[in-house]
């Protein structure tokens, strides 16, 4: 990479105003050939607005964009593509029923005598996939592929269209660890071929692993750009970046449960479910926070849903406070005192069209109605109370939940659970897609709930988080619990070894503080 050549993409003095809000204020930013430039910042900090401007979805109010030194106007995504800027969105842009080859050819199908030339299309697809090193059968319907593979196909399409700058928006959000590693390989190889990559992520360790430079946004302002390859006094650490993101120090992001564990509340014995889940056995005590970790597909979510009653059990016994927890539907689960925060906020928890108030109150309407008629004063009091606890402004009561940030949406779902006063709270990926500020709030809440004596089970793919907030860790692999660790004394490496099966001796390991390592 020579220093003298102009950056692949430069934006200078970009501002964008929506009504009264300045979404981007005088931002200058560039992407050089052969670098990974990470963009960080909380939700609503201005990253997406900037990305929408460089991909031609929004027009800036002021400022200019240059590609390899020459000024361009990007009036549409098509212009951006022609200029060599492509985006891989968080939500995939594929047509599930069509094959990989068809997806790759969309908009540019090879024709022969005016008819679709399938053979050429498949051959071209093979070639495009080979360029990104993806070993995928072009004839498979794309919907059958894992999210990671579908993403590869999208990247292959962008590369085939000669993208010079590729923007990846939270690309690992739905990927397993292996898939993420494959993606990182690909990113490195694109970098070495001289492409410029913009990498948007909340995950610090990924940014650490990949980025050459990091730019941090906050409230529409560019706070700063740091060279990650710098040594000596210029050297930056994770703490510096977090500080730039939140504008203050976060001494301790994770709030360790400070409460004494009481008696066993949840006891799971030989629980099995469809899809070769289980048998699993474990206990959660009152006031205890138990983390459940493992790779994607290890069966964590499935176990949670079996306990809650969302899926049918095939065997085993579950008790809550000594009473059998025989649940056949979420209705039974809630009645018995189980609360579940589902894995996917948007698909499984939120009512985007409904107000904050309705979203929070939805599971406990029975407590606030007489003969089926909602007592709206009583409901309002309860919802206000929980909003105070969640530190959500009460003037948001009537807002559609769609209008809130990811972190606040997650708080709504938590609020709904708080109103249920559950004896057992199961949180499936409680901080996924949530900004750092809201994360620490959620940790504080988990701690508070444990303080009331509830049993808390937290499923997390974020290992530092699982280690940081739990008392005990259950490591799952292939539908079974393979290790029970003391979270205070475990480390990421140890957990990953169990999760990936390095110690595959078929036995369940229990390690406590005393176990030497």
């Amino acid at each position: 990479m020579s220093e003298s050549t102009a950056p692949l993409l430069e934006v200078e003095g970009i501002s964008k105003r929506f009504g009264a809000t300045l979404a981007l204020s005088n931002v200058s930013f560039d992407v050089r050939a052969g670098e990974v430039h990470a963009l960080m910042g909380e939700n609503g900090a201005g990253k997406s607005t900037l990305m929408k401007i460089i991909s031609g979805n929004y027009q800036p109010d002021t400022g200019s964009i240059r590609i390899s030194g020459s000024p361009v106007t990007m009036a549409s995504p098509r212009d951006a593509m022609a200029a060599g800027v492509a985006i891989i969105h968080q939500e995939l842009n594929t047509i599930p029923e069509m094959t990989v080859a068809e997806n790759l050819a969309t908009g540019n199908e090879p024709l022969r005598f005016g008819m679709l030339d399938r053979r050429t299309m498949v051959a071209q697809a093979r070639e495009k996939l080979a360029r990104v090193g993806a070993d995928i059968d072009p004839n498979r319907p794309i919907g059958q592929l894992s999210v990671g593979m579908q993403q590869m196909v999208e990247i292959a399409r962008a590369v085939a269209e000669n993208a010079k700058v590729l923007v990846l928006d939270e690309p690992t959000a739905a990927l397993s660890r292996t898939e993420s590693q494959q993606l990182f390989e690909l990113i490195r190889s694109m970098r070495s071929r001289g492409m410029g990559l913009v990498y948007i992520s909340h995950r610090m360790e990924e940014v650490w692993e990949l980025a050459d430079r990091v730019t941090v946004f906050r409230d529409g302002q560019l706070i700063g750009t740091r060279d990650m390859r710098a040594d000596g006094p210029e050297q930056v650490g994770p703490g510096d970046i977090v500080k730039m993101m939140v504008g203050r120090d976060i001494d301790d992001l994770y709030v360790r449960n400070a409460h004494q564990s009481g008696d066993v509340r949840l006891a799971v014995r030989d629980l099995t479910g469809p899809g070769d889940i289980g048998p699993v056995s474990f206990d959660v005590r009152g006031g205890q926070v138990v983390g459940m970790v493992g790779l994607i597909g290890a069966g964590r979510t499935e176990v949670a849903r079996l306990i809650y009653g969302a899926d049918r059990r095939t065997g085993g016994a579950v008790t809550l406070d000594g009473e059998p927890l025989d649940v056949h539907s979420p209705i039974d689960g809630i009645k018995a005192g189980v609360g579940l925060l589902p894995e996917s906020r948007k698909d499984q928890a939120l009512f985007l069209d409904l107000s904050v108030k309705d979203n929070i109150g939805m599971s406990t309407l029975r407590d606030h109605s007489s003969a089926g008629v909602v007592r709206s004063g009583s409901l309002l009091t309860a919802v206000r109370g929980v909003m105070d606890q969640l530190k959500v402004r009460s003037n948001a009561l009537k807002l559609e939940s769609r209008a809130l940030s990811g972190g606040n949406q997650q708080k709504l779902v938590l609020g709904r659970l708080l109103l249920q006063k559950p004896k057992l709270l199961i949180l499936d990926e409680p901080t996924r897609g949530v900004d750092i500020g809201a994360k620490s709030e959620i940790y504080r809440l988990i701690n508070e709930i444990a303080g009331t004596g509830a049993a808390v089970l937290v499923i997390s793919s974020d290992l530092p988080e699982a280690l940081g907030i739990s008392d005990e860790l259950l490591v799952m692999r292939n539908g079974r619990i393979v290790a029970t660790l003391d979270a205070r004394h475990a480390d990421e490496e140890r957990v990953m070894q169990h999760a990936t099966g390095v110690y595959d001796d078929g036995a369940t390991t229990t390690e406590t503080a005393g176990t030497a390592r």
Binding site: G19, E42, D353, D358, G372, V373, E400
Partner: protein
């Protein structure tokens, strides 16, 4: 000062992140469009008709419009609940026929009038409940289920009468078709009562919240502990009961049992619901919007007749209006999605 807008200084963190302003501005427009947009359309239409047709703005004509709107409006009220659950009911026209025929047969057989009326509503509710059961428990697509019941119920209406209309000129409940109380036609009074009930159900009861939840996100509703199947069953049952009420009015109006009653009515009813701002995707909409939607269709028809617009042009205009309404609905959805 309103405590709700009070942001206390001991709450320094911006709890609600500043949303991208585009969302907020879009939602302000959407907010007001949702609430008054359709009234505006109605007012403009009335002004237009008043300017074009000299005899349009009169008490007599207003009563006339109200009477002619009542049946469609009642069908549409029930349908609103179903559409809010992200479903559809194509069978309401056929339910109207079966319930109408059934109630006339009961009355002719000497069953006391109140029981005959109740019978008609019950027939509608049962037919609707059957739809709901198929949709909820067998998870069949509502479009197909109700397409089927639209056909079999029509067949039932014919077979109850051996294919012939049955005239009943001294029908005990003929009043609810043709009578008036203090100058207000009885069908209009029935319509108002039906809307009051449905408004209460949707806005004030637990069931109402559940309807919106199921239509907005069925999986989330299930996981939130809502009995989704029961909500669906109830929604279709209510649509059937409303169609039953419409059937009573229809029979009373024509003083006979007509196997062909209500043919094609489902389309006007769907149009009223969609015009009223209820999203066909479910989860969004208001019952009073539906009433306004039905009135718009009624005013349009009435005005076009007063203007001597030939019937076939009336159809063209009505069709175009419905497509514009649906286009507005999808534009609103786009503006929400494009954040």
């Amino acid at each position: 000062m309103n405590p709700m807008t009070d942001t206390t200084p001991e709450n320094p963190l911006p709890d609600t992140k500043p949303e991208p302003a585009a969302v907020r501005r879009g939602s302000v427009v959407a907010y007001w469009w949702d609430r008054v947009g359709i009234f505006l359309v109605l007012l403009i239409l009335i002004a237009l008709m008043a300017a074009l047709a000299p005899n349009f703005l009169s008490v007599d004509n207003a009563i006339n419009v109200a009477r002619s709107v009542s049946i469609n409006a009642i069908l549409a009220a029930g349908l609103t609940v179903v559409i809010l659950t992200a479903g559809i009911d194509l069978s309401v026209g056929s339910i109207l026929a079966v319930a109408g025929v059934g109630s006339v047969l009961l009355a002719v057989d000497g069953v006391p009038t109140p029981l005959a009326l109740l019978g008609g509503i019950l027939i509608g509710a049962v037919a609707g409940a059957l739809n709901g059961a198929f949709v909820a428990w067998l998870a069949l697509p509502a479009f197909i289920v109700t397409l089927g019941s639209m056909t079999y119920l029509r067949g039932l209406a014919y077979s109850l009468l051996d294919g012939q209309p049955l005239v009943a000129s001294d029908l005990g409940f003929r009043g609810i078709g043709n009578g008036s109380v203090a100058g207000i036609p009885q069908p209009v009074i029935v319509m108002v009562v039906v809307y009051a009930i449905f408004w209460f159900l949707l806005e004030r009861t637990r069931f109402g919240r559940h309807v919106y939840a199921v239509g907005g996100n069925m999986e989330a509703a299930r996981l939130a502990g809502i009995n989704v199947k029961r909500v669906l069953l109830s929604a279709y049952m209510l649509a059937g009961a409303a169609a039953g009420v419409a059937g009573l009015i229809f029979s009373a109006r024509v003083l006979s049992a007509q196997p062909t009653a209500g043919q094609g009515y489902e389309l006007d009813a769907i149009a009223a619901v969609v015009l009223g701002g209820t999203s066909l995707a479910g989860g969004r909409g208001r019952i009073l919007g539906t009433l306004v939607g039905a009135v718009i269709i009624g005013v349009l028809s009435n005005g076009l007749i007063l203007l001597d617009v030939p019937f076939f042009y009336q159809l063209i205009i009505k069709g175009v209006v419905i497509i514009i309404a649906i286009a507005l609905d999808s534009l609103k959805r786009f503006s929400r999605a494009g954040t």
